[in-house]
């Protein structure tokens, strides 16, 4: 067993074994019981290459003198409602009410290091550590109560933060009374006993969003809502295209405008004013000349270009022998699937406010990654990281788009330092589209085969620039090879003419679109029902259970496609979660417009912490999924981004909305799995298969715009 530290410290003589950071932290939060605990899965963090930071613990839990419990976490609230589900976890393990939990999130001075909020990992990886810490804190408090009440710990019970003797409820002491006047730190290593599902009192029950009141009254603060005395609003000069170089920049017009401050640094030219519109007007007076690079690609040529530019293959799965598979095959199918670039298009644009004071900079910023942002700002300003304080207010949507860089935080911090006043940077919608790190355009080619019994015997899968997420094989294929030519992140992204990065379930959407379309193509050729074909080709129990659940709820009746009914099915594994969806579409054959009437989704995600939150995420995923499936496509010419606002980037609207039904398939045998992304993953294929079932037209490219659907119908 690992050694544990357990110290009861004198108020005036802090333990000398604590690091400076911890001591400062405890000074900051005052008295009470503090539990420090380690990251949920350090091996995982190290695998992500983001380890090596000075503090190896991942969060704090504090029981205050007033009995309130504060959870400090580097995770941030972007809408995914971890502000509620993490609080549920802490409340349940501590035996306190949900109302008594306060969350402090994404503040680099108060919260210990966290690499960021992405990848459906808050509940999955941070959750277990938080639960263990809360369980440990409860055990500590019960020990203290045992001494206070002169009763053995095993004869004490806890309800709502009150410890009492099981035999005599009047012999009681509250958490607040126990915490008062004592400062206890406990560093948690290994696991404490957490509650089994059968004893859940707060977890597993639907909980209302704890941020709802703030958000419906307009009181919820986002980075753009921070008001600092004397703050200037900055507008920054942007190049007309990625890769453009400035030949001449003339700011003399702006310099003459009363109240305007001009900042000119080598790569940062900005105008600032106390009125954001005046800054905007000043920006318009700047005269520029840029050299534009030759545009190499556009939306139509990019796919061939990417295949040519691809790095060597990495094999992620190999089983059997492809040549053997081809020999066995009664039918062989070859197809290529593509998608263009996708924008995150959060309604809140990238925004930050910064102030520099006494050699320290504080930045309020809309980000999924406050701690990596701290490093970036420190480097840009030449400050030590401990002199950079990143505060993350509520974030107006992320979806991966606020995790790649802290550009706006760096801009605000640099400008605040340059002008000696607080500065806000709030990107316009055109800047947001320009600097968005898009979901990369990607290509998948598949050569597959079925034998005479309609069993898949060949799977030769190549994916370009999207990585292998959700491409993992769960069908029982004897001869299987999966090759990845370039990822959605890292060195290979330099092939793109502008920035790309993670977009909700990165890479998984194109991988599942390709695989589940290919499965349907094979089923159609075999004249097999698409559901039955899948069930006949997978023995994966979790997959079979979600397929069965979604079919039952939908009222699936067997028929080979195209049946004319417009039913499409698709399934996937993502972030440890299994998901199956059925879409019902009607297609106007003359316009090519596809109306999605109904989507049923079955999801099995292990233990569900907040069924209400999980359902909300599924609905959000399905709705957002319709966007990448049917409409969203960034227009560009080389490094020039032609898409500048929502009139040229159609995100899902009320009038698109299908009936959405969700089923959470119970599996309490498994720890909680991801919830923020899985349900977006099968949408493309479910819709493509529904369009095929309605019309007999097979779509190989997303988004499936009316024009593309019409062309496909014509070519039958």
């Amino acid at each position: 067993m690992k050694q544990r530290q357990y110290k009861v410290m004198d108020q005036h003589r802090p333990g000398n074994t604590l690091s400076l950071g911890r001591r400062d932290f405890i000074k900051l939060v005052g008295g009470g019981i503090v539990v420090l605990f380690h990251a949920g899965d350090t091996a995982f963090l190290e695998a992500q290459g983001r380890g090596g930071y000075p503090t190896d613990f991942n969060a704090y839990l504090r029981i205050g003198e007033d009995g309130r419990v504060t959870v400090y976490t580097g995770k941030v609230e972007l809408g995914q409602d971890v502000v509620t589900s993490l609080a549920q976890m802490a409340a349940d393990e501590l035996d306190v009410s949900l109302e008594s939990i306060d969350m402090v999130m994404g503040d680099t001075d108060l919260c210990p290091y966290d690499m960021g909020t992405f990848g459906s990992m808050s509940i999955r990886f941070f959750g277990p550590a938080l639960r263990s810490a809360a369980a440990e804190a409860r055990a500590t408090l019960v020990q203290l109560a045992a001494a206070r009440l002169s009763t053995p710990a095993d004869r004490l019970s806890v309800e709502d933060g009150v410890v009492f003797a099981a035999s005599d409820k009047s012999r009681r002491v509250t958490y607040g009374q126990l915490a008062k006047g004592r400062k206890i730190t406990r560093t948690l290593e290994g696991k404490a006993a957490t509650k089994p599902v059968s004893r859940f009192a707060v977890m597993g029950k639907p909980a209302k969003r704890r941020d709802a009141r703030l958000k419906v009254t307009g009181r919820a603060q986002y980075a753009g809502d921070i008001r600092l005395p004397g703050m200037l609003y900055a507008r920054i000069l942007r190049p007309p295209a990625h890769g453009a170089t400035a030949k001449q920049i003339d700011t003399s017009g702006a310099e003459k405008i009363p109240g305007v401050t001009v900042v000119r640094e080598e790569d940062l030219v900005a105008v600032l004013h106390t009125d954001p519109e005046a800054a905007e007007k000043a920006l318009e007076t700047i005269k520029t000349e840029f050299d534009l690079p030759k545009a190499a690609v556009d939306e139509e040529t990019v796919f061939d270009y990417l295949v040519k530019a691809a790095p060597p293959a990495q094999e992620t799965e190999r089983k059997g022998d492809l040549a053997q598979g081809e020999k066995t095959a009664a039918d062989v199918f070859e197809a290529r699937y593509v998608n263009g670039y996708g924008a995150h298009a959060t309604i809140e644009t990238h925004t930050a406010a910064a102030k520099v004071e006494g050699g320290r900079v504080t930045v309020w910023t809309s980000t999924q990654t406050p701690f990596p942002n701290r490093q970036e700002v420190a480097q840009a300003l030449g400050f030590a990281p401990e002199n950079v304080h990143i505060i993350t207010p509520f974030v107006g949507g992320g979806f991966g788009g606020k995790s790649s860089s802290g550009r706006q935080a760096v801009e605000a911090a640099r400008l605040a330092k340059a002008v000696g006043k607080p500065v806000q940077v709030c990107w316009s919608r055109a800047e947001e589209f320009f600097y968005d790190t898009f979901r990369p355009a990607a290509v998948v080619t598949i050569k597959s085969g079925i034998d005479s019994a309609a069993r898949i015997c060949l799977w030769d899968y190549r994916v370009y620039f999207a990585g292998s997420r959700s491409a993992e094989q769960f069908y029982d294929v004897a001869n299987n090879l999966i090759r990845v030519y370039g990822q959605w992140r890292g060195e290979t992204t330099k092939a793109h003419p502008f920035g790309v990065g993670p977009w909700r379930a990165p890479g998984a959407n194109i991988n599942v679109f390709a695989r589940e379309s290919q499965i349907d193509i094979m089923a159609a050729k075999a004249k097999a029902d698409p559901l039955e074909f899948r069930l006949n080709n997978t023995s994966d129990k979790r997959m079979r259970s979600v397929l069965q659940a979604v079919a039952d709820r939908f009222g699936w009746k067997k028929a080979p496609a195209p049946s004319g009914r417009g039913y499409g099915i698709a399934c996937a594994i993502d972030a440890g979660t299994y998901v199956a969806q059925i879409a019902e579409a009607s297609v106007d054959k003359s316009s090519g417009s596809a109306k999605i009437k109904r989507i049923v989704c079955a999801q099995e995600m292990g233990i569900v912490i907040n069924p209400e939150g999980a359902q909300m995420q599924i609905e959000g995923c399905i709705t957002m999924g319709l966007g990448y499936t049917l409409a969203e496509d960034v227009r560009f010419k080389g490094g020039q981004i032609l898409t500048k606002n929502f009139d040229d980037y159609d995100v899902p609207r009320f009038s698109w909305l299908p009936e959405i039904e969700t089923i959470l398939v119970k599996n309490d045998e498994l720890t909680p799995q991801g919830g923020g992304e899985p349900a977006i993953v099968p949408v493309g294929a479910a819709v493509a298969n529904a369009i095929f079932d309605a019309t007999g037209a097979r779509l190989f490219r997303m988004p499936m715009t009316p024009e593309r659907v019409r062309q496909s119908i014509r070519s039958i």
């Binding site: 995914q80 954001p276 309604i347 009320f654």
Partner: protein, 154 residues
């Protein structure tokens, strides 16, 4: 040009000495400190900046402040009365009709404008009235239910 502009804001008489062509959104957010009204697109395309002007839902990002002279302006901050939420606010919270919350003030104000004109809208009327308010998190289904719930209660 600096003008004197008088109007009612959330029920209170308000006087500004201000450049009259400045947009209402930025006057609310900077001069008046009412940050509940959000900037999303700046071109009347997303609805995050929706406020009520003389009982009509209006996009404040394109509206010169001198156009509200003598008018009644209501923002999200003006809906709560004596600590009691408006039924729309209550129902948005109850139905979980929000995630990131950034479009929420504009959604609620647009729905408020709808219910002023049409207290008992059909589902199709709600969809049509709300269609130009964008929500990226995908709360549409719950927003419709929240508006229906508020309508039933009012």
């Amino acid at each position: 040009m600096i003008e004197t502009i008088r109007f009612r804001l959330n029920g209170k008489p308000t006087t500004l000495r201000i450049e009259g062509d400045r947009k209402l959104l930025w006057v609310l957010r900077t001069d008046l400190g009412l940050t509940g009204t959000k900037f999303g697109c700046g071109e009347n395309l997303c609805g995050a900046c929706t406020v009520i002007v003389d009982r009509e839902p209006v996009r404040s990002c394109q509206l010169p402040v001198n156009e509200v002279r003598g008018k009644e302006v209501i923002t999200i901050e003006g809906l709560e009365k004596d600590g009691k939420l408006h039924p729309l606010q209550e129902k948005f919270a109850e139905h979980g009709a929000l995630q990131c919350g950034f479009c929420t003030p504009g959604m609620i104000m647009n729905a408020y404008g709808l219910l002023l004109k049409n207290p008992k809208p059909t589902r199709d009327q709600i969809i049509s009235a709300m269609d130009d308010n964008l929500c990226r998190c995908g709360c549409h289904k719950r927003i419709i239910r929240a508006i229906e719930g508020a309508s039933a209660q009012m």
